[in-house]
Subunit: 307 residues, 2 copies
């Protein structure tokens, strides 16, 4: 039996997570997810990356939009807008139920892990999702015009401001989620799913003590950059703004000696030889469910070879 | 110019309120509304009677349901139910926007009056709505099996438990809304709209000092009981359970010497002679907008005669 920790952020990572959930049982994979994007909005506790994973694993995600829930309606947010309120964060009517339940449970004193477990159960998800920490950590995007909360940058400003740096407020005093620590003691390897290295994966790696625990295992990463572009989201744009060429090699370099292996798309096959660690070239672009399953299988096999 | 205070509770009262808003300008009528039904649910501050009035005056009420907003959808509440949560209070997706905005404004420290004014403005309502008090007052229904919060009795238990008595928690220390007090100084008369005497109008009349202020004016009430039944809601059922015959006379007796005049439906015309105060018999059942306007005109004329 292989026991894997899968690190994931938004929608790209959640695609591979679904694949992994189809090829591994619930005692074979734990999903470690970023909570740096979490924020409070309209009185609701919103955890975008946890929710992307909840919807992906329960197959309730919205394939047309690429975010949120399927079969969604928008009457709440359009009424909010008609009444003159801020409507930049597009909360769907169905999606709202999830945030309302989370907010109520947290207000009653439940931990982020408990709430995530209960939401997973309610959605019929068998695999466990572990938020990176039980503490509140907030990703701040530094731009030439000042600091923005991550959702302000990502949704309200549509990733248009140039990024200069990132801060993870609250991370110094945060502790890794004990569920992750205990899983890591028994697990055989780690897959970093194709998520944004700066704002999805780095917050996880910077939770004090977590990177050191990961180092004792073979760690592979799947490039979120394909053909110089990010499949989804601002990763490539951020890399350019930070003076880094948007390439798989740069992603591999970003993770540095944490990695034992790297997975890049066949589009970038010519770059494989320039990567100094073991790598595999395959189709990382996941359109169908079968694509997700195939990539998951290859990641598991690659990790087994490295172990 | 006639200056009127209109006392109103739920949907029945709101129908006459709309009529009054069509025949009187915003400096001629103030709507004094019950907030005893207000409660917190799913983290939201919900004011059912204020909302019934907001939706009626902005003509956004749902005529099919008889409560809530028109063009409503129910994806939030049905998703909440799918996720295993309590869904007995049917919050529509559009309606939810109003509660969310109220909750946010109250959390920022705005008063109930300020919030109501801003919601009115957002809905394009010119007439002013004045909640009975700025303090929190909660109607409790005493039943043989114990006490129920009003919405638990009204919505969750569908008015099935027998009523024994009512309590208005917090009323002893409440003060009347200053907007109402100042309006009463200049106004010529008061209309008690056809709302439930026990749970819509009594909480208002029991706000310390308010009844005494009303006594200095001609006060008329429109019977919410027609032909032994309530047009909507549990008024007739409550009367029977309290040992009172559900009749216009009983309603008139309930308000006692506060009243200068009484308005009863033509269905009950034969009872007019048994009422000891001046009364008019007319059509009080309001189906069309014209019905609302006609009854409003008659109430204004009746008050002018009594003044």
């Amino acid at each position: 039996m292989t026991k894997i920790l899968a690190i994931t952020g938004g929608v790209g990572g959640a695609k591979l997570a679904l694949g992994l959930s189809k090829v591994l049982n619930e005692d074979e994979v734990l999903f470690l997810v970023n909570t740096g994007d979490d924020f409070q909005h309209l009185g609701l506790e919103i955890s975008p990356d946890v929710d992307s994973l909840l919807y992906a694993l329960s197959e309730k995600n919205n394939p047309e939009l690429g975010w949120g829930r399927k079969d969604e309606s928008w009457n709440f947010i359009s009424t909010l807008e008609e009444l003159g309120e801020d409507a930049w964060f597009r909360l769907g009517d169905r999606d709202l139920a999830l945030h309302t339940i989370r907010t109520q449970k947290l207000a009653r004193g439940q931990s982020i892990q408990q709430v995530t477990d209960e939401l997973s159960a309610a959605l019929g998800i068998r695999h466990r999702i572990a938020p990176m920490s039980q503490s509140k950590i907030s990703t701040i995007v530094e731009t030439p015009d000042g600091k923005l909360g991550f959702q302000e940058y990502f949704v309200r400003e549509k990733c248009e401001p140039k990024v200069v740096n990132f801060q993870f407020q609250g991370i110094e005093t945060a502790e890794p989620n004990p569920v992750v620590v205990s899983w890591l003691k028994q697990c055989d390897g780690v897959v970093i799913c194709p998520s944004n290295p700066y704002v999805s994966v780095d917050p996880i790696l910077k939770v004090p003590g977590l990177k050191e625990l990961l180092r004792s295992k073979p760690v592979i990463a799947v490039s979120p950059i394909v053909g110089g572009l990010a499949i989804k989201g601002p990763a490539a744009k951020m890399m350019k703004e930070l003076g880094v060429p948007p390439s798989p090699i740069a992603v591999s370099d970003h993770y540095g000696d944490l990695l034992s292996g790297f997975v890049l798309d066949k589009t970038d096959g010519d770059q494989a030889n320039d990567i100094s660690i073991p790598s595999i070239v395959t189709q990382t672009v996941m359109v169908t469910l079968q694509d997700r399953i195939d990539l998951a299988k290859q990641c598991v096999r690659f990790l087994e070879e490295l172990a």
